[in-house]
């Protein structure tokens, strides 16, 4: 007869074993095999991690686009989506624990952070550059060598860049205000000033009240300067796009006379109250909101801020503005010109890359399989799949022209995947709304006027470490100058300050990095 104690021990042990086996049984077995299936037409499985930019989950079951991809390329995409707000943290944790999937989206904000850079030097990611030549569709896809170059780290390409429009920044204007005052779209910085003045003083919205602001300016930090207009104005004046090359040395734009002359114009506009007086506090979103309220005449922004096909308005223009002021009309200014003709500051031209981890992609043969998948996705047929969808489901052909079927859920099925699949920077369709057509035309013509920022692919340790503080010095100097609190002499003193606090070191390191890169 077993003693009470032993009975107790046995019952406890049995109990715990039951619980443990329940636990093991309950866990879902999502065995993502690292190795790719080989052999006769079996489906290749590619695991990926991508950013979710929307407020609702993508459709996986019954997703027409995914099914078509599987049908055409024989690849089963197993994507795990992470909300954009938390992507950085999830990426860092997965990176640090060596559990990256085969393909990972690494966006521009993360590409040159210390964690990714050290991962690259530790050999976590495959180098893709030399292999690109054997993929004809990918070669054609990357027609702008600049896009590839801007993604290189130490001169090497560690993934497939996700291209974005290069000539993207510009000026959006209220066309109806121009019409009301009989003015033309400004083409030089002086004309921008004159139009802004007229917009403020001459009651362009014809409501009898002096409640309009000529231009809404948002001073965001030097890092995202492309969108606040300073670089747009500076390059038009013949200057640099954030950084420039002079006599073999890398030079910061804010120390040049073109930049200071731009600040002079802003100072004038601020003083005469034809620019919003709270510019030091306004962010990009606030600027967009102010424009949408209908009391602002112009704003520097990305050209596609004027509108796009996805807006429900007839012309595609910004919906919030159109509902606030139904008679509003938006237009975009052409690339502004100065002493050296029309110029546009070039964006980096990419939003990061899709990178392939060596833990999940074990051999070069496996990598080649993935690259040939991307090559297939870079064909016109597959690019069109994302633009138009599946025939009969998302569009039908009428007179040789593709017409989309209403409510076909194309965006629901495709949008989430566009982060992972390479999309061309510009897409044009026959059904583009007026604003889209205008914006696309500007993107194309801007390619001729690009002023490139030479430090995109360069590296500087000091810049990584104290770049933020240095940027602050520049921003403070700029804001104080525009507000009239300091004059030229004091501005130059602050520039000197920037130099001594690490700026000179940054210049030296960037120049050295540049010299390295032209050697190759």
């Amino acid at each position: 007869m077993m003693s009470k104690k032993i009975k107790k021990y046995i019952s406890v042990t049995v109990f715990s074993i039951t619980i443990l086996s329940l636990l093991a049984g309950c866990s879902s077995s999502k065995k993502t095999d690292g190795s790719l299936a080989t052999g006769v037409p079996t489906t290749t499985k590619i695991s990926a991690m991508s950013i979710l930019m929307s407020a609702q989950p993508p459709r996986i079951e019954g997703n027409t686009i995914l099914n078509k991809i599987k049908e055409t390329t024989n690849v089963d995409l197993d994507v795990s989506f992470v909300p954009s707000g938390s992507y950085k943290e999830k990426f860092n944790v997965t990176l640090a624990s060596n559990s990256l999937p085969m393909a990972t989206v690494v966006d521009a904000g993360m590409l040159r952070t210390t964690s990714v850079l050290s991962a690259i030097s530790a050999g976590v990611f495959w180098e893709v550059g030399p292999l690109l030549d054997s993929y004809p569709n990918l070669k054609k896809f990357y027609s702008d060598q600049l896009v590839l170059d801007n993604c290189k780290i130490d001169g090497k390409l560690y993934g497939l860049p996700r291209p974005r429009v290069l000539g993207r920044s510009g000026l959006i204007i209220r066309q109806d205000w121009l019409d009301n005052l009989g003015l033309k779209v400004p083409t030089t910085i002086e004309e921008v000033y004159n139009v802004a003045k007229a917009f403020t003083l001459n009651d362009p919205d014809k409501d009898g009240k002096a409640n309009t602001v000529g231009i809404e300016y948002a001073d965001i930090s030097v890092g995202s300067a492309g969108w606040n207009g300073i670089d747009t104005l500076t390059v038009a004046a013949g200057g640099f796009n954030q950084w420039g090359l002079e006599d073999g040395k890398i030079v910061p734009s804010f120390a040049t006379k073109e930049y200071v002359s731009t600040l002079g114009w802003l100072k004038k506009m601020y003083k005469e109250k034809i620019m919003n007086q709270d510019f030091a506090l306004v962010t990009g979103t606030k600027r967009a909101d102010a424009f949408d309220q209908g009391k602002v005449g112009m704003a520097f922004a990305t050209l596609d801020d004027a509108g796009s096909n996805t807006n429900e308005t007839e012309s595609g223009a910004r919906p919030n503005l159109m509902s606030a002021v139904p008679t509003a009309k938006i237009t975009i200014a052409p690339a502004l010109s100065g002493p050296s003709g029309q110029k546009v500051p070039a964006t980096p031209g990419h939003n990061g890359m899709v990178m392939f981890s060596k833990t999940a992609v074990k051999t070069e043969a496996d990598l080649k399989k993935i690259l040939s998948f991307y090559d297939k996705m870079a064909t016109t047929e597959m690019i069109d799949l994302f633009t138009y969808g599946v025939e009969g489901v998302n569009y039908k052909v009428e007179n040789g022209v593709k017409k989309s079927i209403a409510d076909s859920k194309l965006a629901d099925d495709s949008y989430a995947l566009t982060m992972l699949i390479l999309r061309p920077a510009q897409v044009e369709t026959a059904e583009d709304k007026d604003i889209t057509k205008q914006v696309n035309a500007a993107f194309t013509s801007n390619k001729k006027f690009l002023v490139v920022n030479p430090i995109e692919a360069l590296n500087s340790e000091t810049k990584n470490q104290v770049g933020g503080q240095l940027d602050k010095i520049v921003m403070d100097a700029r804001i104080k100058y525009v507000m009239g609190q300091i004059d030229d002499a004091e501005y130059n003193k602050l520039v000197e300050n920037w130099r001594t606090q690490g700026g000179d070191k940054v210049i030296d390191e960037l120049t050295a990095s540049y010299n390295e890169s032209i050697k190759k």
């Binding site: 993508p58 938390s86 943290e89 904000g109 990305t302």
Partner: protein, 292 residues
């Protein structure tokens, strides 16, 4: 006989009342703002510089929230996670605290020391992630329930409470032929209801508010709790996510009023829970077992 209060005492009372009133207003202002903003139209929110109560109430934001079933479904997921999670928490915490509250349990002191140790030192995010993934718990709800199943702080709280229950009660029950389990369920737990209700609330709110473990371990967007979507909606509609150099491609930014509507919706269940638990706070305090 009326108690005479000195002038100083009266003025102190007055000052106290005013001060507490101000603090109360400060606490409730954000709530009024959020509820008010959720009932306002998007235009009004964009236009107004200072905003508290909408001039024109509109249910537009709420209607927008329910156009997709993301919010209702994730709300159900959150409720599921909270209910099961809190039950697991309570069961495990009580079962661990009770033996540790008895002095005669061998090794009790050592185990308690180890548990307190974890309050100060923890593995960190990456090692925890490695442990959870190696146990194949990813994409299951167990990754949310097990790693923090017992909070050391709550454990010590309950243990101390158990120790305060007079030994005589338990001995009396044992004399009446009650088993150990019986003592636990019929004597100890009914007496501990206020503290149990308290830690149940702590655990429940913790589960309800957590979003990061879900993002880390759960890959299926349909299994994400409401806080993940709430955070996503708030970040998207305030443009806070954009990184410096690249895309401002935002096809469907939720309107500003939507973030407030989702906040209200996500807070309602917890607000509703409080009054129900208050009953248990009161109940436990009234049961007095020991006379004299």
């Amino acid at each position: 006989m009326a108690i005479k209060r000195s002038k100083a005492s009266n003025s102190f009372d007055l000052f106290n009342h005013i001060f507490l009133l101000l603090v109360a207003i400060l606490c409730i202002l954000p709530i009024i703002y959020v509820v008010g903003a959720s009932l306002a139209s998007d235009q009004e929110l964009l236009a107004a510089k200072i905003f508290l109560i909408p001039k024109k109430a509109s249910l537009e934001a709420y209607r927008y929230v329910f156009t997709t079933n993301v919010v209702p479904r994730s709300m159900l997921v959150s409720i599921f996670i909270t209910v099961i999670g809190t039950s697991i928490n309570l069961i495990l915490t009580v079962l661990t605290a009770y033996p540790l509250s008895k002095k005669y349990v061998k090794g009790g002191k050592t185990i308690l020391m180890l548990i307190v140790f974890t309050m100060v030192f923890s593995g960190g995010m990456i090692p925890t992630y490695l442990v959870v993934t190696s146990l194949k718990l990813t994409n299951t709800f167990w990754s949310l329930w097990l790693p923090t199943a017992i909070s050391a702080f709550n454990l010590i709280l309950i243990k101390s409470f158990f120790q305060q229950i007079p030994q005589e009660l338990e001995e009396a029950a044992e004399l009446d032929g009650c088993s150990q389990w019986g003592i636990l369920f019929k004597v100890v737990i009914p007496l501990s209801l206020p503290s149990l209700a308290t830690i149940a609330l702590f655990y429940a709110v913790g589960h309800w508010n957590s979003y990061f473990p879900a993002i880390l371990y759960i890959n299926d967007p349909n299994k994400w709790p409401i806080q993940v979507w709430l955070r996503q909606i708030v970040l998207l509609s305030s443009g806070g996510f954009s990184n410096s150099s690249a895309t401002s491609e935002i096809t469907a930014i939720p309107p500003q009023s939507m973030q407030y509507a989702v906040i209200v919706i996500a807070t309602i269940p917890v607000l509703v829970l409080y009054p129900f638990l208050q009953k248990y706070f009161a109940k436990g305090a009234l049961i007095g077992g020991v006379k004299g």
